[in-house]
Every structure is written in structure tokens, then in C-alpha cells.
């Protein structure tokens, strides 16, 4: 069944909207933190459009505040955002028939939050149907991405305007972790993905002091390998049983 571009677009906006509840306070917190780190309001707002990645923007404000050299800031952003290469590879087969302009736009909108809802929508089909232009699912991607983008820009602006009105003691930055919990937990449907999540989390806790977010990368890699191993073991067992 084919859906119209409009229907897909608004379905994308709708799927993204619960996530925005977590993103908006986070954008405001970024705006507040950027000003307190000494970044001028114009540059703080522009960063939300230029980098457009929440956790690395927060890291940039910390590093700027600590007078870190430009090279360290750039490398840190690169390492933290390396996970987007995996998202890029993950969505690539679904959008490979689109025109280049679409690819340039959708790549710009490929954040954690837009990826999370979009990939679930693409994988929703029982039948593997990857000839995307016919099913208009790229409009869903665009809707989810633009909903996130505009919320991110507006919440940054609100954070800059509010300045220090929201006290840090409210702990609104915790909504980042809660957002990720809301995304991950319902997706843990089998033993392999549960094993991937738990092992990555445990490694990340014990490697949290490592420099430049290296612990995050090692933890993620561990989780992926454990997930593959568990899935292959389950597959072999099922093969023997039949």
C-alpha cells in the first residue's frame, strides 16, 4: 500500500513528537550552558544549526569553557559523532534510489532522534521492500527530521533568552537519559539486543573516566560484538532443533 507524501510527512512529525518532550528541555539547557561558558548568543544559536547534535554541542561548551584548543574540540566532536556513520550506513539502503538533493538534506537531518523513529518505520514492513521512492517513506524521514530540527532551534533560542532563569538544580539535563531509556527499552525484544545493551552499558560505566569519550566507543563496540555472538548462537541452536 502506498501512502501520499503528505501522510508520510505528518506521520513522521507525529512519531517524532513524544521524543521532543525530552529534546526541548535539553535544547534549553544547551542554550543556558553555552551562554554561561562565554559563547556569544549568536554563535550559540548558530551552533545548533551548524553541528546539530545535542550531546556534542554540550561537550563543545564544556571544552570551550576549559579553554581547550580548537583541535581537541574538533576531534572530540568527530569521535562522539562517529556513531552517525553507522546510522548513515543503516538508512543508506532505504534511500539509495532518491535524487542527490534528497540525500544531502536527509543526511543533514540524520540525528539520534530522527534515526530512531525513521529506521523503525523503514523496518516496519513485513516484506523487505527497499524500492523506496514508491512508498514515500523518505517524506516520513523528512517530517521527523524537520520536527526535531525546528524544535532544536527554537528550544536553543528559548534557553538563550531564559539564560540562568532555569536553575541547574532542577536537573533538567536528566531528560537526555530518560529520552534514551524511552527509545531503547521497548526495542529490546530478544536476548541478543538485551545482551548488546547490557554489556555496552556495563563497559561504559567502568570506562567512564577515559579521555575523549573513548569509553563510549569501546562500550558500543563491545555491545555490538556481544549482540552478534548471541544472535549467532541462538541461530545455531534453532538450526539443531529443527
Amino acid at each position: 500500500m502506498n501512502s501520499t507524501p503528505q501522510k508520510e510527512f505528518f506521520a513522521g512529525v507525529k512519531a517524532e513528537s513524544p521524543i521532543l518532550v525530552g529534546v526541548i528541555p535539553f535544547g534549553m539547557i544547551y542554550g543556558v550552558l553555552a551562554l554561561s561558558a562565554g559563547i556569544p548568543a549568536g554563535a550559540a544559536q548558530a551552533m545548533s544549526a551548524i553541528i546539530f547534535a545535542g550531546s556534542s554541542q554540550i561537550l563543545v561548551t564544556q571544552l570551550v569553557h576549559q579553554s581547550a584548543p580548537a583541535l581537541v574540540i574538533i576531534l572530540t566532536v568527530g569521535v562522539v559523532n562517529l556513531r552517525h556513520a553507522l546510522y548513515s550506513a543503516s538508512v543508506a539502503p532505504y534511500i539509495n534510489k532518491l535524487r542527490p538533493l534528497w540525500k544531502w538534506i536527509l543526511a543533514y537531518l540524520l540525528t539520534d532522534e530522527a534515526y530512531a523513529v525513521t529506521i523503525l518505520h523503514y523496518q516496519d514492513d513485513k516484506v523487505e521492500e527497499k524500492s523506496v521512492p514508491q512508498n514515500n517513506k523518505h517524506w516520513f524521514f523528512l517530517g521527523a527530521g524537520l520536527a526535531l530540527w525546528s524544535s532544536w532551534q527554537l528550544s536553543t533560542a528559548a534557553g538563550i533568552l531564559l539564560g540562568a532563569v532555569v536553575p541547574a538544580s532542577w536537573g533538567l539535563d536528566f531528560t537526555l537519559a530518560l529520552t534514551f531509556i524511552a527509545l531503547v527499552v521497548p526495542a529490546l525484544k530478544d536476548r541478543a539486543s538485551l545482551g548488546a545493551a547490557l554489556s555496552a552499558g556495563i563497559v561504559a560505566v567502568f570506562a567512564f573516566r577515559w579521555q575523549y569519550k573513548l569509553g563510549l566507543m569501546i562500550a558500543a563496540l563491545t555491545g555490538i560484538l556481544i549482540g552478534i555472538a548471541l544472535e549467532n548462537m541462538a541461530g545455531r541452536k534453532a538450526g539443531q532443533g529443527s
Binding site: S56, G78, A92, L178, L183, A204, V205, L221, G223
Partner: protein, 119 residues
């Protein structure tokens, strides 16, 4: 170029904007990488299998330290409000699959614990 890379970002307006723009282009390049590279190819099956585990692995690697690390130490006592609130949020997400409810309940529990600890 050398002096640019080794100077703090807040040295000048040009320094700050230069740092931001390079970091932004790098991020965009990473997001664009496979979309262009694989645009005419199928992803190998082992890579496809690995990618399925990327979201749970990466997101949990961000979540766990947020919940378990308190003042630079592993803290799994009731005085770590984020740990307790996170556990409650995990249960809510698991039972209801409702993102808004998960975030609202998680923040409410965090504030409740912060308030109780202040009494």
C-alpha cells in the same frame, strides 16, 4: 593553520566560528558518508547484522553512566536520585512503551528524591 588548531576557541570571534564550522562539516561528512558510499551498493550481511545492535549498544552506553555515576563514583544507593529515577523509568518504558510517560515519571521521581533528601 597551526596556530588556529592550537589556540582556545574563545581567543577571537574568528577562532570560535572556525572551530564550530569545521566541527559541523566533520559531523555532516560523517552523516553523509555511507549514504553516498553505499548509494549504489548493498550492505554486506555481516554489516547489516552489526548495525541492528548499534542503537541499543550506543544509547545504553550513554544511559548507564548517567544513572550510575554520581560525583565521579559508581553509586547504586538510594541517595543517587538519578539511579532510582532511571530504574523506575526503565520499568515504565518496558510496561507502557510510552515515551512521554517515561520522561514525566522519571523527572517526577528524581524531584521527589531530591526533595526527600533535603528534608
Amino acid at each position: 593553520m597551526n596556530t588556529f588548531l592550537f589556540k582556545p576557541a574563545l581567543d577571537s570571534s574568528a577562532q570560535l566560528w572556525g572551530t564550530m564550522i569545521i566541527a559541523g562539516l566533520l559531523t555532516y561528512g560523517i552523516r553523509l558518508s555511507f549514504i553516498l558510499l553505499f548509494s549504489r551498493r548493498e550492505i554486506p550481511s555481516w554489516l547489516g547484522q552489526a548495525l541492528r545492535f548499534v542503537p541499543p549498544a550506543v544509547l545504553t552506553a550513554i544511559i548507564f553512566p548517567e544513572l550510575l555515576i554520581n560525583n565521579n563514583h559508581i553509586d547504586i544507593t538510594y541517595s543517587n536520585g538519578r539511579f532510582i529515577a532511571g530504574l523506575v523509568a526503565i520499568v515504565v518504558a518496558w510496561r507502557t512503551k510510552n515515551a512521554v510517560l517515561t520522561i514525566v515519571v522519571g523527572m517526577a521521581v528524581l524531584w521527589l528524591i531530591q526533595w526527600l533528601l533535603r528534608m
